[in-house]
């Protein structure tokens, strides 16, 4: 009985791992096949790294990688700067303003992206930031404000405020208490949010699709264009997709423990 149960357990684990790993492995295998063998991925024994070389020679794709990396990094830094303070305010201050702000971000969290990204197209054009870094960066920060302020509030709620009170008694200013006492205590949570924020921005599609054009290609949009314009070049598409997975993979590998620790609070 116990043996049967153990067997069943490992079969379940095996099936689950297969389900979640197979699509990625299959994509990886496809990316290593030469063009002549790509339609019979399961049969050939011929492998090549040529697809990756081909993709990396394409200026537009390289440009898209650079843009995505820069925008994700900047969006992470700026989003955290504004949401850490906003979450701290929500956690430590009571009153009308605090409640109004919480209500605002709660409601705006629910508004579907499409409802504000459609007019945002005109807004960014009118302000002359369409298809540029700020034109994509600032809306991304706006996306993160609601959710991350909410999460940051939770993190600060879990940190005991008595240390800050002690700092205030010892002559620290309110800002000093925030910067020297509360902020260092929130570092694990900030690390977790940085990882999530970078991944969200790197993987985001709808905003990039609508708010960028020829001048500022980003990687998700370039890949989707592959599907629609060059739907047959599966070997190049898989190579691009695998390359786009690498930074996210590395970040997740190193960041995993921060995320799990940070979210457990």
């Amino acid at each position: 009985m116990s043996l049967l149960r153990r067997g069943l357990f490992f079969v379940t684990v095996g099936v689950a791992c297969f389900f979640f790993a197979f699509p990625v492995l299959w994509l990886g295998l496809t990316s290593l096949r030469p063009q002549s063998g790509v339609y019979y991925v399961h049969r050939g024994t011929e492998f090549t790294l040529g697809n990756f070389a081909h993709v990396l020679r394409d200026e537009r794709i390289v440009q898209a990688f650079v843009n995505s990396a820069l925008i994700s990094t900047l969006a992470t830094l700026l989003s955290l700067m504004v949401t850490v303070t906003s979450g701290y305010m929500l956690s430590r201050f009571r009153g009308v303003l605090s409640r109004a702000w919480f209500g605002t971000i709660y409601v705006f969290r629910c508004v579907p992206y499409i409802s504000w990204v459609l007019p945002l197209y005109f807004v960014t054009q009118a302000w002359g930031v369409y298809d540029s870094y700020p034109g994509l960066l600032l809306p991304h920060i706006a996306v993160h404000i609601c959710f991350f302020s909410w999460l940051m509030k939770g993190f600060f709620d879990a940190i005991d405020p008595s240390m800050e009170h002690a700092a205030l008694l010892d002559g620290c200013t309110r800002w000093g208490a925030f910067l020297r006492v509360a902020l260092p205590a929130a570092v694990p949570a900030i690390a977790a949010l940085s990882v999530l924020c970078w991944l969200f921005t790197w993987n985001e599609f709808l905003f990039a699709l609508i708010l960028t054009g020829q001048r500022t290609p980003v990687i998700t949009v370039v890949m989707a264009q592959f599907v629609h314009e060059m739907g047959i070049e599966w070997h190049l598409m898989s190579a691009t997709a695998i390359l786009a997975l690498v930074p996210a993979f590395i970040l997740t590998l190193f960041g995993q423990k921060y995320v799990i620790r940070g979210l457990r609070i």
């Binding site: 790509v38 303070t85 305010m89 303003l97 409601v107 629910c110 600032l138 699709l209 786009a244």
Partner: protein, 284 residues
């Protein structure tokens, strides 16, 4: 105190509130990209969307079926995997890393992978089916098979998200109730039903509601997998609004559709939260 939220509030105002106001304004106007006279037409666009057969008989049912099936399946699967990972066994860390893999995959990439696997001529799914003696399906050319692939992609993408949050929740539960249940001789199922689920209640409700709201606005995987096709049979709400505004270049009608969607999800989200909360409350 005001200073702490000023930057966040300013960005929110400029890049979310202002666009929503402009969108709301546009939804009352005859605003097309090729003829920007912007005549006021009142509620005409709202009427047009709400009486559009495609919207009522395809887009709305699609969106709600997608939301219910996808969130339901990922919640059940995610909870099962979280329970599986919550006890130590050899290789637990490796399994955990593999199961959480989809978290780092962009929805666009996931859609590309599944599209390739379900390709009717060269996809591995049809190759395996034919190898087993079944007939291969033209997955992306039929409404319900294409829709199922979209749901499958979404479940694949978001189950790990549930697993991660529920696992974090499980690991922070107190030990005493489980010990008490064991002493009282409760079986596995009863322990799960009467101890684990009630203790995880709030996490389950919050995760499910957040995911349901996000599922309602799903865009990227549909766009990449089917583009709404075959025909318009797999269009979800976000795609419907996008198609009107950017492909048909009718910005007024697209905005009206987007506003209607926003109104629906605000009501549904709130109702869902109440209903789920009560459901779990009753069950304990």
């Amino acid at each position: 105190m005001l200073l702490l939220i000023t930057p966040a509030a300013a960005i929110l105002l400029l890049f979310q509130v202002v666009p929503i106001v402009i969108g709301a304004n546009a939804s009352f106007r005859d605003w097309t990209l090729y003829d920007p006279k912007k005549t006021w037409v009142g509620l005409a666009h709202y009427g047009a969307v709400l009486t559009d057969r495609a919207f009522l008989t395809i887009v709305l049912p699609n969106t709600f079926v997608f939301m219910a099936v996808s969130v339901g399946a990922s919640l059940v699967l995610g909870l099962a995997l979280a329970l599986l990972l919550n006890r130590p066994f050899r290789g637990q860390k490796v399994v955990q890393t593999i199961l959480l893999m989809p978290l780092m995959v962009a929805p666009v990439i996931a859609a590309i992978m599944l599209r390739w696997m379900f390709n009717d001529q060269f996809g591995i799914v049809n190759v395996v089916l034919e190898g087993l003696g079944f007939e291969g399906q033209p997955w992306m050319a039929q409404r319900w098979t294409a829709f199922s692939v979209i749901v499958l992609t979404d479940v694949w993408l978001w189950t790990p998200w549930f697993t991660l949050l529920l696992l974090a929740g499980l690991q922070s539960l107190p030990r005493e109730p489980f010990e008490a249940a064991a002493i009282d001789g409760a079986g596995r199922w009863n322990t799960f039903r009467f101890v684990t689920v009630p203790l995880l209640r709030s996490i389950i409700v919050v995760c499910a509601v957040i995911r349901a709201i996000d599922a309602f606005r799903t865009f990227d995987i549909v766009w990449t997998l089917t583009g709404g096709g075959p025909g318009r049979s797999t269009e979800l709400f976000s795609l419907y609004a996008y198609v009107y505004a950017f492909l048909n270049l009718d910005f007024g009608k697209g905005s009206a559709a987007a506003m209607i969607g926003a109104a629906i999800i605000l009501v549904v989200g709130l109702g869902l939260f109440r209903a789920l909360d009560r459901l779990v409350e009753v069950s304990r």
